[in-house]
C-alpha cells in the first residue's frame, strides 16, 4: 500500500511527505534541524521540553514539531523572531533551574542543554530565581543520580521502560519540585535498577552518570611497583568506540593505540578481555553441548551481559536454571589474573590490582558481587572504568592518542581469536559460539565462519540452523524488552530454542551505557551508530588469522597447564558462578 501523500509548506518551501509524518521529520527532509531536547527517535514522543515549537498558520499558540503530524495545506514557520525568542526563553528557563557549574561538570562540552543554549542564543540570564535543591544520590555501585541537573525531559524514564522493560524510573512529586528516580526515590541498588546505564547514555545533561572509579585507578597507578602490580584488561567493544572520544571517525578500530596509551599511563600489564571471551566460548560451548546431549535445561541463555544477569535475578528468577553458569569474560580474566597469572609471576594476589576497561556501567556492580569474590572477600576486579572514564583519563594525562604508535597486548592473556572481537556486537557471542559448536558437532575443522543470520543491529533475531543433521533453534536479543518477548515465548513453550544470546543494551556492548557520548549532531542510541561500531569489530575479525575461539593456542595452553578440562572441577570453581532471585522483584 502506498502511503497517502500530504502537501505542506515549511518556511515557504513546498514539500510532500507521507501522511503521519511529524513536522520535525518533514523539516529534516528540507535539511532543517529543528532544535529539540526531550525528543528521541527511538522513544515515544514526550512533548515536554517545548523547545521544538513552530508557528502554524491559523493557530495562536505554537505547535511542537516533534508531536504534530502534518496535514494537507499546512503552513509551517520554523524560524521567526517570535519562535526564536520562545525557544531561547524556554532553554533559559531550563538553565535557570539548573546548577551553574558547567566548568566543573562531567558533561562540559558534550551536554545537549549547553549546546541548545548556545545554538539558540541564550547570552544573558533574565529570568533568574529560586532553584530546586535535591541531594546527589551516589550510594549505588554503578549509577549515580544528580536530580538538580535534571531538565525533566523524561528520556531516562522512557528508555528504562520502553527499551529495557525495567520501568525503574518515574517522575515523583509535581510541578517545580518534580524529581525523577526509582520508587520512593531510593538508592539505585535497592531498586529494580539493573545498572545497564542506558539512562546515562540518553540523558542530555549529567543528571545520570556512572559511579566514578578514575580516582582509585590514579591512586593504584601512583603506588610503587613493588607494592601494587597494576594490570588492565580491555573489553572487545572498547577498540571500536574509544577513538570517537578523540575525534576519530565513528567505527575506527584503535586497538594498537589503546594498548600504547594504557602502557604509557603506567599499567604493568595490558591484557585483553578477548582472551577470556575465547575462554567463555569454550566453557559455554561445552556447557551447551552437554545440555544438548542430556536434553536438559534448554535453551541455554548466555551470561556475558551483567545488565541482563541483574534483570534475570530480579525479573525472571525462574529462568536461572537456563542461564549459563559462566562468569562474564571480565570476571573470568580477573580471576585468572589473580590466580593463574599471579602464580606464574610469583605474586601475592593481594598485591595485584585489576582494572577492567568496559563499555558497561553494570560491570561496576558485577565486580562487587560477593559471590564472585575471592575466598577472603577480596574482589577479583578492583576497578571498572567505562570507555568514557578511560578516554577522560587519557586526555587528562595529556596523551596524544590519535598519533600514538600501535602496541600489542601482553602475553599470554592478550592472545585472542576474531570470535572474541565480535562479542562486542549483538549476535557476536552467538556467532562465536556457533563457530566452535559447528566444529565440535561435525568434527569438520573447516566449519562455517560467518553466520549472517545473527548479525545486524535488529533487536530480535531468530533462526534455525541445521548442523550435522540436527536443527538448532537460536535467538539473539538486545534491549531487555526484546529479551522479555523471547523469555515469555520460552516460558509458554511457543518455540523450542536451544541457545539464546541476551544482551542488555540495545545493539550490544558497542552501545553500552559506558560508551562515549555521540557527537552532538547524533542522537544517543542511534541504530546507525550501532551499525558502524559493529562493522569495525567484524572488520577486525575478518582480518585475523585465528577466527575460532577453540583455535586460540593460549587457551589450549591454559587448559593444559592450569585448568584441566573445560567445565572440569577447577574450571568450574574459578570460571563459573551462580545466581539467585533478588529483591525487589521487577514488574514484567
Amino acid at each position: 500500500m502506498i502511503d497517502k501523500m500530504i502537501n505542506l509548506t515549511i518556511d515557504g518551501d513546498p514539500l510532500q511527505v507521507p501522511a503521519g509524518t511529524t513536522v520535525l521529520k518533514a523539516a529534516e527532509k528540507l535539511g532543517i534541524n529543528i532544535p529539540r531536547l526531550c525528543y528521541h527517535p527511538n522513544l515515544s514522543i514526550e512533548g515536554a521540553c517545548r523547545v521544538c515549537v513552530t508557528q502554524v498558520k491559523g493557530f495562536n499558540h505554537f505547535l511542537t514539531a516533534c508531536s504534530q503530524e502534518v496535514w494537507e495545506g499546512m503552513e509551517v514557520q520554523t524560524n521567526s523572531p517570535e519562535i526564536r525568542q520562545a525557544r531561547r526563553d524556554i532553554v533559559e528557563l531550563l538553565l535557570d533551574n539548573h546548577p551553574r557549574d558547567c566548568q566543573t561538570c562531567e558533561r562540559d562540552g558534550n551536554c545537549e542543554l549547553q549546546k541548545q543554549a548556545y545554538r539558540l542564543g541564550v547570552r544573558e540570564r533574565i529570568f533568574n530565581g529560586e532553584r530546586k535543591r535535591f541531594p546527589v544520590e551516589d550510594s549505588g555501585q554503578s549509577v549515580i543520580r544528580t536530580p538538580e541537573k535534571c531538565i525533566l525531559c523524561g528520556r531516562c524514564v522512557r528508555v528504562c521502560s520502553e527499551v529495557q522493560g525495567v520501568s525503574n524510573l518515574s517522575q515523583h512529586g509535581r510541578g517545580f519540585h518534580t524529581v525523577v528516580g526509582p520508587a520512593n526515590l531510593s538508592n539505585m541498588d535497592d531498586s529494580v535498577c539493573i545498572q545497564c546505564g542506558q539512562c546515562v547514555a540518553v540523558c542530555p545533561t549529567a543528571a545520570f552518570l556512572e559511579k566514578d572509579h578514575t580516582e582509585r585507578v590514579w591512586e593504584a597507578l601512583a603506588m610503587p611497583r613493588d607494592v601494587k602490580h597494576v594490570v588492565v584488561q580491555v573489553a572487545p567493544a572498547i577498540r571500536a568506540t574509544i577513538g570517537e572520544a578523540f575525534g576519530l571517525p565513528m567505527g575506527t578500530p584503535v586497538t594498537g593505540k589503546l594498548v600504547t596509551a594504557l602502557r604509557r599511563m603506567g599499567f604493568d600489564e595490558v591484557f585483553d578481555t578477548n582472551y577470556s571471551a575465547d575462554l567463555t566460548i569454550i566453557e559455554e560451548a561445552t556447557e551447551f553441548l552437554s545440555r544438548v546431549q542430556k536434553g536438559e535445561n534448554l535453551p541455554l541463555l548466555t551470561s556475558c551481559s551483567p545488565g541482563w544477569v541483574n534483570f534475570l535475578e530480579k525479573f525472571y528468577p525462574e529462568m536461572i536454571k537456563h542461564t549459563s553458569s559462566c562468569k562474564s569474560p571480565m570476571q573470568m580474566l580477573s580471576t585468572l589474573i589473580k590466580t593463574y597469572y599471579a602464580e606464574k609471576k610469583g605474586l601475592d594476589p593481594k598485591d595485584v590490582y585489576v582494572v577492567g576497561i568496559m563499555p558497561c556501567v553494570a560491570k561496576k556492580f558485577e565486580a562487587g558481587r560477593p559471590e564472585q569474590a575471592m575466598e577472603d572477600g577480596m574482589p577479583y576486579t578492583d576497578a571498572v572504568l567505562t570507555t568514557r572514564e578511560l578516554a577522560w583519563m587519557i586526555k587528562s594525562y595529556g596523551i596524544d592518542f590519535v598519533n600514538l604508535p600501535d602496541g600489542e597486548f601482553d602475553r599470554p592473556l592478550g592472545i585472542s581469536s576474531g570470535a572474541a572481537d565480535i562479542f562486542g556486537a549483538t549476535g557476536g557471542v552467538m556467532e562465536a559460539a556457533l563457530r566452535t559448536a559447528a566444529v565440535k558437532l561435525t568434527g569438520d575443522e573447516l566449519g562455517p565462519l560467518v553466520f549472517e543470520e545473527v548479525r545486524g543491529v535488529t533487536g530480535l533475531k531468530e533462526t534455525t540452523l541445521r548442523i550435522n543433521g540436527m536443527d538448532i533453534n537460536i535467538a539473539v536479543s538486545n534491549g531487555l524488552t526484546n529479551a522479555k518477548h523471547i523469555l515469555e515465548a520460552v516460558k509458554h513453550g511457543d518455540k523450542q530454542y536451544h541457545l539464546i544470546e541476551i544482551m542488555a543494551c540495545p545493539g550490544g556492548c558497542i552501545m553500552g551505557g559506558g560508551q562515549p557520548y555521540p557527537p552532538l549532531d547524533h542522537d544517543p542510541l542511534d541504530p546507525e551508530t550501532a551499525r558502524i561500531r559493529a562493522k569495525a569489530l567484524y572488520d577486525i575479525d575478518a582480518k585475523k588469522q585465528l577466527r575460532r575461539s577453540h583455535e586460540n593456542p593460549a587457551i589450549e595452553h591454559l587448559y593444559a597447564e592450569f585448568l584441566g578440562e573445560p567445565n572440569g572441577e577447577k574450571a568450574h570453581k574459578l570460571l563459573h558462578t551462580h545466581y539467585e532471585a533478588r529483591m525487589p522483584r521487577g514488574i514484567r
Binding site: S161, S167, N168, L169, S170, Q171, H172, G173, R174, G181, P182, A183, N184, L185, S191, V192, E287, S290, R291, K294, E296, N297, P317, E318, I320, K321, S325, N567, G568, E569, H572, H578, Y579, E580, A581, M583, P584, R585, I587, R588
Partner: protein, 187 residues
C-alpha cells in the same frame, strides 16, 4: 559438571508477603481488575481504596499494590506523590481543610490559614505531634456564599474569622478529652 538448580522462582513468596499488607477487599478488587484490559489504569482507584482503609499510603502497601497489580513500583510511588490527595504519612484524627478558593481568599483565607498554622504549630500537609489534627488546603469547597470557610472532617464552617477558628479547634480538643475521660471511666 552440572549443578542441580532448585526452584528459583520467588513469585509465590513475594505474592504471599504482599498479600499480608493489604486487606481482603482490596486484594479482591485488584484480582478482579487484573482480568480487564488496561488494568493498570485502575491504579488510582486502588490507591484510593488503600488510603481509605489505612488513612495514608505506606511504603509496604504501595509495594504490595505494585506486585499484586503488576504495575511498576516506581509508577505507583510516582502517582502517589503526584496527587495532593494522596498522603504518605499517617494523618491526624481530624482533618482541617482550609478553602483557598478565590472567594475565600478575597474574604481573608490567608489570615485564617496563618492563624491555624500558628495555633497548631504545623504547615499545610502536616500533622500535629499529638496526632489530633492534620492541616490541608483545598481549592473551593463550593460554598462561596459562606466564605471564608474551613471544613473539619465532613463538617463545613463559615464564615470563619481567625478568632472563631481557634474556638473551633478548642471544641474538637474538648470533645477528644471528654471521650478519653469517658473511656478511662469505663476502664
Amino acid at each position: 559438571m552440572s549443578h542441580a538448580v532448585a526452584n528459583t522462582d520467588n513469585w509465590a513468596e513475594v505474592k504471599a508477603a504482599c498479600t499480608e499488607f493489604l486487606p481482603e477487599h482490596i486484594i479482591a478488587y485488584i484480582e478482579q481488575n487484573a482480568k480487564t484490559t488496561h488494568s493498570e489504569s485502575q491504579l488510582i482507584a486502588i490507591l484510593h481504596l488503600v488510603q481509605g482503609h489505612f488513612g495514608y499510603l505506606g511504603k509496604d502497601q504501595m509495594h504490595a499494590v505494585a506486585q499484586l497489580a503488576q504495575i511498576p513500583f516506581a509508577k505507583v510511588t510516582g502517582v502517589a506523590t503526584f496527587y495532593h490527595y494522596f498522603r504518605l504519612q499517617p494523618r491526624g484524627k481530624h482533618i482541617i481543610n482550609v478553602c483557598l478558593g478565590t472567594a475565600c481568599y478575597v474574604k481573608g483565607a490567608d489570615k485564617l490559614s496563618t492563624r491555624l498554622m500558628d495555633e497548631l504549630g504545623i504547615q499545610f500537609g502536616e500533622t500535629t505531634k499529638d496526632k489530633m489534627f492534620s492541616l490541608e488546603s483545598t481549592r473551593c469547597l463550593g460554598t462561596c456564599g459562606l466564605a471564608p470557610v474551613i471544613m473539619v472532617d465532613d463538617q463545613v464552617y463559615g464564615p470563619v474569622s481567625p478568632a472563631e477558628a481557634s474556638l473551633i479547634l478548642e471544641k474538637y480538643l474538648k470533645k477528644g478529652k471528654s471521650q478519653k475521660a469517658a473511656e478511662a471511666a469505663k476502664v
